[in-house]
């Protein structure tokens, strides 16, 4: 059963990153995805700086990274069938990410039951014990996301995303 979900994750998951124009524009990449956990990375880039004097990444990059990682964890938690929509996302910005360092987000689905998934995540710039941000989010399966998932499945079997 778990292996079944894992093989579906392995085949569909990369598309949910490379198929998302905003994730591509920010240079987000998927590190790993298992039924319980998603790990994603945002590479440091000069074009993502929010405070030019300090050279730190904009909070919005961390927001998008955490949202995407939490969504991936929820997707995996739901059994890799329906793409979930974010209900809410709460982020504590513990400290700015250090200039020049990539940021990694680890998201864990605490509970996914019925239509709702609860996810917790941390983002760090090298040391997981010294996070730059922590997040908690709730996701929901919607009609739109079910329809989208069906289109994704069709597109995937036809070998294209459009």
């Amino acid at each position: 059963m778990t292996d079944d979900i894992q093989s579906r994750l392995d085949s569909i998951a990369p598309l949910i990153v490379t198929g998302s124009p905003h994730a591509v524009a920010l240079g987000l990449s998927l590190v790993s995805l298992t039924p319980g956990e998603a790990v994603m990375q945002a590479r440091y880039d000069d074009s993502l700086v929010g405070d030019p004097d300090a050279g730190t990444l904009h909070g919005g990059v961390i927001t998008a990274l955490l949202d995407h990682a939490c969504g991936m964890a929820a997707f995996a938690g739901f059994g890799a069938r329906d793409t979930p929509a974010t209900l809410d996302l709460r982020i504590d910005y513990l400290r700015p990410a250090k200039p020049g360092l990539d940021v990694t987000a680890q998201a864990r689905s605490l509970k996914s039951h019925g239509l709702v998934a609860f996810v917790r995540a941390t983002a760090h710039d090298g040391d997981p014990d010294d996070p730059v941000a922590i997040a908690q989010a709730a996701f929901m399966i919607t009609k739109a996301s079910k329809a989208a998932q069906e289109r994704a499945r069709r597109a995937y079997t036809e070998g294209r995303m459009s």
Binding site: P21, G59, A144
Partner: protein, 143 residues
């Protein structure tokens, strides 16, 4: 009003690339996020990326704080809570902020984003920001 810092904020590489505009009428500030393909999170719905909407709300919160008073530095987000009320469609997004409280160090801000109808918001943000009011504004304030 911190005109120079608003320019710094809007010229920051990430914000400039994002394409956000500010529409200021008197003391009312509206943020405009013109639709662009790179903002789409899920092309199959299609809906804007939740992170893009969240980032836009954060930018409007910062800009509104800068527009409301002279600050010495860019506001820094302490925490944000974003509620997603409707899918943000492949269209422009607008947002306005209410400064619930703007103190000497911390500001409490609420931002609402909408697309077609202002009474049908697509997302709201509630956040705390660390601020540094310009010294001349605070010298006669009690410690």
């Amino acid at each position: 009003m911190s005109r120079e810092l608003i320019e710094t904020l809007m010229a920051a590489p990430y914000v400039a690339r994002f394409g956000v505009r500010l529409d200021q009428r008197g003391n009312e500030l509206t943020g405009v996020l013109p639709f662009a393909d790179h903002l789409v999170g899920n092309p199959l719905i299609p809906a804007l990326h939740g992170g893009a909407v969240g980032a836009f709300l954060e930018i409007v919160a910062s800009a509104s704080l800068l527009a409301s008073q002279p600050l010495d530095r860019l506001p820094k987000p302490i925490d944000v809570a974003i509620d997603y009320l409707r899918p943000a469609r492949a269209q422009d997004v607008y947002a306005r902020a209410i400064l619930a409280r703007s103190g000497r160090r911390v500001a409490n801000v609420r931002v609402e984003a909408w697309q077609n109808r202002i009474d049908a918001p697509v997302a709201t943000l509630h956040g705390h920001f660390l601020i540094t009011p310009a010294r001349s504004e605070t010298t006669d304030a009690p410690a």
